[in-house]
């Protein structure tokens, strides 16, 4: 089983992101369970959503305390929430930012993960440009597909299309493809392409 925890703020599509990821996994024949953190969600308030992916039926109903992958949609959360709580030592980290890990004061945490497991991706910037709104969730799923290779980019695209048919979906798919390419290039530049894939 592979467990993903997505941190963001109300209005950034955190819950929808987890749901689309579960759909992408489902399209590949996997079992997947997406669920929100069950709060009274308000725009701007910290929000958490979860996604489990497995080869067999998922019975577990507890929140994800020890994620295999963290997706951080808003880097201002580092000061507010213990985002890294429970992240597995061999886990993955995706941060939506146009800054560096050092600028965000999390370089040490990122360096503790295996090489090629922590990436930054300017998902809000990409979404602003391609979707016209600061909604980073779809782009981050493209980054997830590139980083973990757990789901194909095409499955992510299908899942986005299912959630947002028409022009909005197409723009979000373009954002996911760009983020995917961005992370793939980072992995090539770092000389770690394809030796970091996750397993269920």
């Amino acid at each position: 089983m592979f467990e993903v925890r997505i941190h963001g703020r109300g209005g950034q599509g955190v819950v929808t992101g987890a749901e689309m990821l579960s759909v992408a996994a489902f399209l590949e024949g996997r079992h997947a369970q997406a669920f929100p953190s069950f709060g009274s969600e308000r725009t701007g308030a910290p929000v958490v959503a979860f996604c489990r992916i497995a080869e067999k039926e998922i019975r577990l109903r507890e929140p994800i305390a020890a994620p295999d992958c963290l997706i951080v949609q808003d880097p201002t959360l580092f000061k507010v929430v213990d985002v890294f709580a429970g992240l597995k030592p061999n886990g993955y980290l995706i941060v939506n930012t146009n800054k560096s890990f050092a600028d965000l004061h999390i370089a040490e945490i990122a360096s503790r993960l295996p090489k090629g497991h922590a990436v930054i991706v300017p998902a809000t910037e990409i979404a602003q440009r391609l979707v016209g709104r600061p909604v980073p969730n779809a782009a981050l799923l493209g980054a997830f597909a590139a980083l973990t290779e757990l789901v194909h980019l095409d499955s992510v695209a299908h899942a986005i299309e299912e959630a947002f048919p028409g022009k909005v979906g197409a723009a979000n798919i373009a954002a996911a493809r760009e983020a995917h390419a961005n992370v793939t290039q980072q992995e090539i530049d770092a000389g770690v392409a394809h030796d970091h894939a996750a397993v269920l």
Binding site: A18, E19, S22, V23, F26, L27, H31, A32, Q33, A34, F35, P36, F38, S40, I58, R59, L60, R61, E62, P63, A65
Partner: protein, 423 residues
């Protein structure tokens, strides 16, 4: 058809497949997505011959459903928590009049303190109201139980409440098999009322009954629920024959055959418990689970048979009667009452107001029942430090102020605000 969808949406599709003729809805978290979903299915024409009635309150929702059902329509509504309390008088009327309404209860805690999260205190508040109460373990079962519920309700002419854990099931997106309309139509015959109001053939429903007949009317309601103990397994079997999967029934065991310790629970927590049981079995513990699907009628005999050979029974439930203890544990105790040699019974309350129930806590609970059994009821993961400080504080000062606010202040690291003094 297999879909990756939200539990609420799946339930809405299942309810639409049952062809209700009247749906009365008033929104309340966490049930709202279900009635929104059926509303969409009515509007877009998927569900035909159905009147969707927006009402002004939960009391109206069930009252309108009662009227519709009495007029011979297949009626459906849904609610949660305080919504169920607000319709309480109508809840008793629906069962007292023998009207086969199906209602989804998106299980949520009852306030005060106000809390929107999951537990079973709403279902328990109406456990003696004469409705059948079925608890879904998974979203698949939630879908399947609704289909069985309409058949059961209409055969008995009694209302059925399908209890689904709020948020944990209603808001989870997962793989769910939505049945075909043809299969549902074959499984669920058209509603044939045993009574209905018709201007062409005037009759009244709801007579005032005095001491001369009240006991007999009530006994017959009990008789119907006793009869349901036979129908529920029968309908689960015919469901399996048609749809090819196990759903519903009175109860079911998991690794229970050779278990020395048996856990009894209802609803979605059974999934997590199964994972814990697998982990403990690896370590050599002979532990299993009995998932109770039917809480009303309560399957005394089936439960007694299921538990008789265990040496320890641990009841894990998401509700309790203040001043008494766990309601489910109390009922399980009733099932064990007349056994010549009975297992030890351990009662635990967990998951109140949405507190997560992690595997680690369940591991410790089940081990503790063996090596250090407790008296009365055990509250899983109770913050004893906070309790101790609050009891100490309230003992010192008569005007100690409101409990909930002071506990929250304590957790936030602040000082409690005693009334009459600045905080």
């Amino acid at each position: 058809m297999l879909k990756q969808i939200e539990g609420s949406r799946a339930m809405a599709e299942a309810i639409a497949l049952c062809r209700p003729e009247v749906i009365c809805a008033y929104p309340i978290t966490p049930q709202t997505h279900i009635v929104e979903g059926v509303g969409e299915l009515v509007r877009d024409g998927h569900l035909k011959n159905c009147e969707y009635i927006n009402v002004e309150s939960e009391f109206a929702a069930l009252s309108v459903a009662i009227g519709a059902s009495a007029a011979g329509a297949r009626a459906y509504t849904a609610t949660s928590s305080q919504g169920l309390l607000f319709m309480a008088e109508a809840v008793y009327n629906a069962s007292g009049l023998g009207l086969p309404i199906v209602m989804t209860l998106g299980n949520r805690a009852i306030g005060a303190p106000i809390n929107i999260w999951n537990d079973h205190s709403d279902a328990m508040s109406m456990r003696d109201a004469g409705w059948l109460q079925l608890f879904a373990e998974t979203n698949q079962e939630a879908v399947d139980l609704h289909i069985q519920a309409f058949r059961l309700a209409e055969e008995l002419s009694m209302p059925v409440m399908v209890c689904v854990d709020g948020f944990i099931l209603t808001h989870a997106v997962e793989r769910i098999d939505i049945p075909d309309q043809a299969d549902v139509d074959a499984y669920l015959p058209p509603y044939e009322p045993v009574q209905s109001l018709d201007p062409k053939d005037p009759a009244s429903i709801g007579a005032m009954v005095g001491p001369e007949a009240f006991t007999e009317v009530k006994f017959l309601a009990h008789y119907k629920q006793t009869h349901a103990l036979k129908l529920i397994p029968e309908y689960a079997r015919s469901f399996r024959d048609r749809f090819g999967r196990e759903s519903g029934g009175l109860l079911r065991g998991y690794r229970a055959d050779d278990a020395e310790m048996l856990v009894v629970a209802m609803g979605s927590i059974c999934g997590t418990i199964k994972d814990v049981i697998d982990e403990m079995r690896e370590e050599g513990f002979k532990i299993g689970l009995v998932t109770l699907v039917s809480y009303r009628p309560f399957p005394l005999a089936a439960l007694r048979d299921a538990l008789a050979r265990a040496s320890d029974v641990v009841v894990v439930e998401k509700s309790f009667a203040v001043g008494m203890g766990g309601q489910l544990a109390d009922n399980v105790d009733g099932a064990l009452r007349n056994l010549p040699v009975r297992p030890r019974l351990h009662s635990a309350v967990a998951g109140l107001g949405g507190r997560p129930i992690p595997r680690g806590s369940l591991h410790r609970l089940f081990r503790q029942a063996l090596v250090q059994p407790w008296e009365g009821v055990h509250f899983l993961d109770l913050n004893e430090r906070v309790i101790g400080r609050e009891i100490h504080r309230t003992g010192k000062n008569r005007r100690s102020g409101p409990t909930a606010e002071n506990i929250l202040k304590q957790l936030a690291g602040g000082r409690p605000a005693e009334q009459g003094r600045p905080g």
